[in-house]
C-alpha cells in the first residue's frame, strides 16, 4: 500500500518535472537574480557592486538618497500614468471584443475558425513593422489626415502622432487578440440551454444578457483583462514609437535604467514593483473566479 502511494508520488513528480524545470530556469531563476540585484549598489559602469543598498525602492517612492537627489515623487507619477493607460487599454479592448466575441461564437463552426484565423493574423508580421505602419497612418500627411482634408472636414492636419491618444490606440491595437481569445473561449462554451430557459421563463433579450450571459462570462472578462493589463503596464515599444518617448511609462523607465543610466539595481527594483502590482491583480482574479464558480454551483 505504502509502496503504491510512493510510486504514485514518484510518477507525479516525474510528470511535473519538465514544467518545473522550465519554470525554474526561465522564470524563477531570472526573477531571483532581479530580486537580489534590486538590493545591491549600482556599479559605476553598469553591473552591480555586492553591497547591500536600500535606496532603490525608496527612490521609487520619492525618498532622496541625499547625495544625488532631492525628494521628488516623479516615479510615482509614472506608475500612476502607466496604470491609467493600461486600465484604459483594458476597458477599450473589453468594449470592442465583447460584442465581437459574442457574434463570432454564434456563427457556424466553419465561419468561427475563419474569424479566429483573422484575429490571429496580425501575429504573422513583426510588431515593430505594424507599429511603423501606424506611424504612417497617423502622421500629418498620413491617409487619415489626407482624407479628412480632402473631404473638407478639417482645415489643418489633426495632431495624432506622438500623443497619449496614439499610445492608447497602439496598445489597444496590439492587445485586442489577447482580450478576444479568452472572451471567445468563455462565451463559446456557454450553455445555450440556460439562455433558452431564461427566454422560456419570460425574460427579454436584454434581461437574459444581463442576468445570464454577463455573469457567466465574468471569468472570460477577468482573464482577458489580466492578460491585457499585464503587458500593457510594462509596454515600452508603443510609447516609444507612437508616443515619441514623451509619454513615459514604467517599461521605458526600466529600459532607460539598463541601457542609458547604467543603473541595473534601480531597473530591477522598478521591475519588481511592476511584478508586485501584477501579483495583486492575479490574486484579485483568483478570488473573483472562485466566487463566480461558487455562484454557478449554487
Amino acid at each position: 500500500m505504502a509502496t503504491a502511494l510512493a510510486r504514485k508520488r514518484l510518477r507525479l513528480a516525474g510528470l511535473l518535472s519538465p514544467i518545473s524545470v522550465v519554470l525554474g530556469v526561465f522564470f524563477l531563476a531570472p526573477l531571483s537574480i532581479l530580486l537580489v540585484y534590486a538590493f545591491l549598489e549600482p556599479g559605476l559602469y553598469g553591473g552591480v557592486e555586492w553591497n547591500f543598498y536600500h535606496h532603490n525602492f525608496g527612490r521609487i517612492l520619492g525618498w532622496a538618497d541625499g547625495e544625488y537627489e532631492v525628494f521628488d515623487p516623479v516615479y510615482l507619477a509614472i506608475f500612476a500614468r502607466s496604470f491609467r493607460l493600461a486600465l484604459t487599454t483594458v476597458v477599450i479592448t473589453l468594449l470592442l471584443c465583447y460584442p465581437a466575441a459574442m457574434w463570432v461564437s454564434s456563427l457556424p463552426d466553419r465561419l468561427k475558425s475563419f474569424f479566429l484565423f483573422l484575429i490571429t493574423l496580425p501575429f504573422f508580421a513583426s510588431l515593430v513593422v505594424r507599429l511603423f505602419a501606424w506611424i504612417l497612418i497617423l502622421k500629418p500627411t498620413g491617409w487619415i489626415n489626407e482624407t479628412l482634408l480632402a473631404l473638407g472636414a478639417i482645415a489643418q492636419p489633426f495632431d495624432m502622432l506622438y500623443t497619449e491618444g496614439a499610445v492608447v490606440l497602439g496598445m489597444v491595437y496590439v492587445f485586442v487578440p489577447f482580450m478576444f481569445l479568452p472572451l471567445y473561449a468563455n462565451l463559446e462554451k456557454l450553455d445555450r440551454s440556460l439562455l433558452e430557459a431564461s427566454r422560456d421563463l419570460g425574460a427579454g433579450g436584454l434581461r437574459t444578457f444581463l442576468r445570464v450571459t454577463l455573469p457567466l462570462s465574468v471569468p472570460g472578462m477577468v482573464g482577458g483583462s489580466i492578460i491585457v493589463f499585464i503587458p500593457s503596464l510594462g509596454n515600452f515599444i508603443v510609447p516609444d514609437l507612437l508616443g515619441g518617448a514623451k509619454v513615459l511609462m514604467i517599461g521605458n523607465l526600466v529600459e532607460q535604467q539598463f541601457l542609458q543610466a547604467r543603473n541595473w539595481p534601480f531597473g530591477s527594483a522598478l521591475a519588481w514593483m511592476v511584478m508586485a502590482a501584477v501579483l495583486i491583480f492575479l490574486l484579485v482574479y483568483v478570488s473573483v473566479v472562485n466566487r463566480a464558480d461558487a455562484l454557478q454551483e449554487r
Binding site: L44, Y45, G46, G47, Y68, E69, D72, V74, Y75, A77, I78, R81, S126, V128, V129, F132, I135, K139, P140, T141, G142, L161, Y162, I237, D240, L241, G243, G244, A245, K246, L248, N252, L253, E255, Q256, Q257, F258, L259, Q260, A261, R262, N263
Partner: protein, 354 residues
C-alpha cells in the same frame, strides 16, 4: 556615456528593427572563431560593407560583423564574458572606461609607419595619449536636419525652437539623455560634461520650457523629415545622405551656438581570439583609400588627413560636413561622468514625465 543609437544610413524602419533586436537579444551568441577570421562588434550601420569585402579579398580573412545600439550594451556584453569578438568601436569615453577595466589589448598601432596619417588631435582618450592601444576611427557632429520646403533656413538652436510658432512645423529631438540635456547646457553656456546640479537643472528647465513645442524624442525621424511631417530634427551628420539624395528639400546644419560631436576608436579586445588579423585590420584602415570608402557611405568625418584630401569635392565643400572654424571651436565631446550620471538620469526622467 553617449547612448547614441547611430544609424548612419538605411531606412528608419530597418534601423529600428536593428536596435530592437539588439535590445532584446542581449545575450546572443558570439560569432564563430577560427584561424582565418576576424570578428567585428560595431554599431549598427556604422561601417561600409564594401570595406569589409575589400579586407576579406586582400587578406583572405573571413570577416564576421555583429552590431550593438549603445556603448552600454556593448560594454555589458563584453563584461558579461562574451568572447569571440576581436574588435569593438567604443566612443572615446568608453575607450577610457574599457581601458580602466582592463578589457583592451595594446596594439602598438602607433609604431606603424602609416600612423602618421592620423591627425594628432584625434588621439583623444585620456588613458591612451600616445595612441598605442586604439586607432581613431571616425567622428561627426550632432546637429539639425531640416526640410527646406517648410523652413527656408536655420542656423542654430534658437531658430530650431522657433519653428513651431514661426512656420507651424514640428520638431523632434533625440531620445538620448545626454544629447538632449546637452543642448540645454550649451544654450546656458555650460559644458556638456557639467557635474553641477544647478547647471543640469537649468538645462532641464530649458528643455522643459520648450517641451510642448517638441513633438517627440526619437531617432526614427529621417523619413518623416523628408516627407515634411516633421520640419526639423536634432540628428547626426549621417543625415547628410538624405541631403545628397534630395538637395532641393533637405539640409543639415551644425548649430552656430554650439553642438556636440562624437568620435569612436577601433580597439582590440584583450580576449580577442584573432589579434593578428585585428591588427591587420587597423593597418588596413590606416591606408587613406579605405577610410575614404567609409566616409562616402557614412557621411561622417575621418581622422585620416590624406584620406580627407582624397574625398570627392562635394564632401570637402558642403557646409554641413565642413563647419566653420568658429563653429568647430564650439563643438563639445562627451566625457564619462561616473556616478554623476544620476543627476542627468533624474533630470531626463523629469523632462519626459512633466
Amino acid at each position: 556615456m553617449v547612448t547614441t543609437i547611430r544609424w548612419m544610413s538605411g531606412a528608419a524602419m530597418h534601423s529600428a528593427l536593428g536596435s530592437l533586436a539588439a535590445a532584446v537579444m542581449f545575450g546572443m551568441t558570439a560569432t564563430a572563431q577560427g584561424a582565418g577570421e576576424l570578428n567585428l562588434y560595431n554599431w549598427g550601420d556604422y561601417i561600409n560593407p564594401e570595406l569589409l569585402k575589400k579586407f576579406e579579398a586582400e587578406y583572405d580573412v573571413k570577416v564576421n560583423l555583429d552590431t550593438y545600439g549603445t556603448n552600454e550594451e556593448m560594454l555589458a556584453k563584453i563584461q558579461a564574458g562574451a568572447t569571440g569578438y576581436d574588435i569593438v568601436f567604443p566612443s572615446v569615453h568608453m575607450h577610457d572606461i574599457m581601458h580602466k577595466l582592463g578589457l583592451l589589448w595594446e596594439s602598438r598601432i602607433n609604431e606603424h609607419p602609416d600612423f602618421k596619417n592620423i591627425e594628432p588631435g584625434f588621439i583623444r582618450a585620456k588613458t591612451d595619449p600616445e595612441g598605442s592601444w586604439c586607432l581613431p576611427y571616425a567622428w561627426g557632429t550632432v546637429g539639425i536636419v531640416y526640410n527646406k520646403t517648410i523652413v527656408p533656413e536655420i542656423t542654430g538652436w534658437d531658430d530650431f525652437f522657433a519653428i513651431p510658432d514661426q512656420f507651424g512645423g514640428k520638431i523632434t529631438m533625440l531620445d538620448d539623455l545626454r544629447e538632449t540635456l546637452g543642448v540645454g547646457l550649451i544654450m546656458n553656456g555650460h559644458s556638456v560634461n557639467s557635474r553641477d546640479r544647478a547647471e543640469i537643472e537649468q538645462a532641464r528647465d530649458y528643455i522643459l520650457a520648450r517641451k510642448d513645442k517638441i513633438s517627440a524624442f526619437t531617432y526614427d525621424v529621417l523619413p518623416l523629415v523628408q516627407s515634411g511631417d516633421i520640419a526639423a530634427a536634432h540628428w547626426y551628420v549621417g543625415a547628410m545622405y538624405t541631403v545628397f539624395e534630395d538637395p532641393e528639400r533637405m539640409a543639415y546644419v551644425v548649430p552656430k551656438e554650439g553642438a556636440t560631436m562624437y568620435q569612436e576608436d577601433i580597439c582590440i579586445l584583450a580576449s580577442a581570439p584573432n589579434k593578428e588579423n585585428a591588427r591587420l585590420f587597423m593597418e588596413f584602415y590606416l591606408k587613406p583609400e579605405n577610410p575614404v570608402l567609409n566616409v562616402e557611405q557614412q557621411m561622417n568625418g575621418t581622422p585620416n588627413a590624406p584620406a580627407r584630401e582624397m574625398l570627392p569635392e562635394k564632401f570637402k565643400t558642403h557646409p554641413g560636413m565642413n563647419p566653420s572654424d568658429e563653429v568647430m571651436a564650439k563643438l563639445q565631446i562627451f566625457e564619462d561622468l561616473g556616478a554623476d550620471l544620476k543627476l542627468y538620469d533624474r533630470a531626463w526622467t523629469q523632462v519626459r514625465t512633466q
